[in-house]
Symmetry: C2
């Protein structure tokens, strides 16, 4: 395998790059995979996106994102997201649970509701051949974006279901700080639960609002090579996405963001016992 | 017990309020306790601060803070901090571990070093009658302020020592998101490890740099009453500090910040099965 065989460009890294140019750019860079976002897919058109992915010889690694179970229309919205994943040939739908419902302080109730929501969606996902990937977001997002804060929590929910129906999304940015992360990666791998692996690095100071503080792989303090090696050792063989939310990178031309993502991916890959 | 019997005003809440006015203000408000910071104590003078605390009929609940074990002079600095706690009659010295050493990505090594540092300091603390309180900071501070990110981690270290030498500092702001927090509070209480309990609330959006995003008790989304009740149920009977880092509150006159802290404390106390 060459390095690029597992590289996936998550389009959130170049948020404003138009879909056809983004897909052509990925193909030209030698990528085989892309991670897509529902908003961008809807804007360009679902069928049209699926055709363009194919025409460029690409495959979709993940569709981002379902979840936000604290909204009124979570059920129909997530059903549609599963159907969109099918239309795009995406094997994985990433779920970001959503935060507390407006005005509520009851984290336990919010977390119970996430379990019930996944339970409601799992049969449709399984029948459709789409694996739901519960993502733990960094605890700084607990109130407003994701009440699932650790890999252990995501696995506690996922393990209630068949692995082909429900796994976890593992993003280095969100889990690197956790002193139990290597144990949880082993647990996730042993249960065939690693649905996707994403690389992003941590830098300080965080910007206001904290959403867009992520950095290209290698630019921060996360032991990305150690985490990737652990994920591989746990049996994961799938695509490795680079997904960076960063205001400065969003101001770049798309091909510059893609090129930086490829460079970061290669640099981390070179730290593996057996580079990808 | 009246509500004010357990209230402690941590002076970081009114960072720029001069020591003598702050202490007089606390006494006038009916407080019995204050939490002090080494920088402010040094500025006013150690002996002079100790005298002023006594003259106002107050006692020191905690001295903040030791730690920052990633600095070159951590050992003499923390020895001095223990001696300062003795001089102030403070039974507890709060330890914030510090982040990664400059340029390092090795979280495991940084964490091992924290354990060794506490080991080096514990005999002096025990002999001095000062309990070291290992504080878990929110994981968003893992790289630059504190590699101890969860109550479980803090307890894993504390439990290597006698409870009178090493406990944990439990600040709602830092631990509220953790789905294991109630289990860990029970564990901490059973082992007599709760050295101090601090109230601060979580609000979004976080400001740039994230340090000063805390809110007065009741202004945010944390189940403060449930956490306090759990801490009491675990056997803690000590002071409850209000410690808020917030740029807006720092711009207020000190007595306004104190008054808001008392109001927040009383409002949370009123939610307890048996109000303090």
């Amino acid at each position: 395998m060459t390095t690029m065989d597992r590289f996936s460009f998550n389009q959130a890294t170049a948020r404003d790059w138009r879909m056809p140019e983004m897909l052509a750019g990925c193909a030209a860079a030698g990528a085989r995979w892309v991670g897509l976002w529902r908003e961008q897919v809807a804007e360009y058109g679902l069928a049209r996106t699926a055709e363009a992915v194919q025409a460029n010889g690409l495959a979709v690694s993940t569709l981002c994102r379902g979840g936000f179970f604290n909204t009124d229309d979570w059920y129909p919205s997530n059903r549609r997201a599963i159907d969109e994943a099918v239309a795009l040939g995406a094997p994985v739908l990433v779920l970001v649970s959503g935060g507390l419902a407006g005005g509520s302080r009851d984290l336990s109730a919010a977390r119970d509701h996430v379990t019930r929501a996944v339970e409601a969606l799992a049969p449709h996902a399984e029948a459709a051949g789409v694996q739901l990937a519960i993502e733990a977001l960094h605890p700084m997002f607990a109130s407003d974006r994701c009440v699932i804060c650790t890999l252990a929590q995501a696995l506690d929910i996922a393990e209630r279901f068949e692995p082909r129906a429900v796994g976890v999304a593992l993003d280095t940015y969100h889990v690197w700080w956790d002193d139990t992360v290597y144990r949880q990666i082993d647990r996730a791998g042993a249960g065939q639960r690693i649905a996707t692996f994403q690389l992003a690095d941590w830098v300080t100071p965080l910007p206001a609002g904290v959403l867009t503080g992520r950095a290209m792989p290698g630019a921060g303090c996360v032991e990305l090579g150690r985490l990737w090696a652990a994920v591989d050792a746990a049996g994961y063989r799938g695509p490795v996405e680079v997904e960076i939310f960063n205001d400065e990178i969003w101001s770049w031309p798309g091909d510059r963001a893609l090129s930086a993502a490829v460079d970061g991916y290669r640099a981390v890959s070179a730290q593996l016992p057996t580079p990808a």
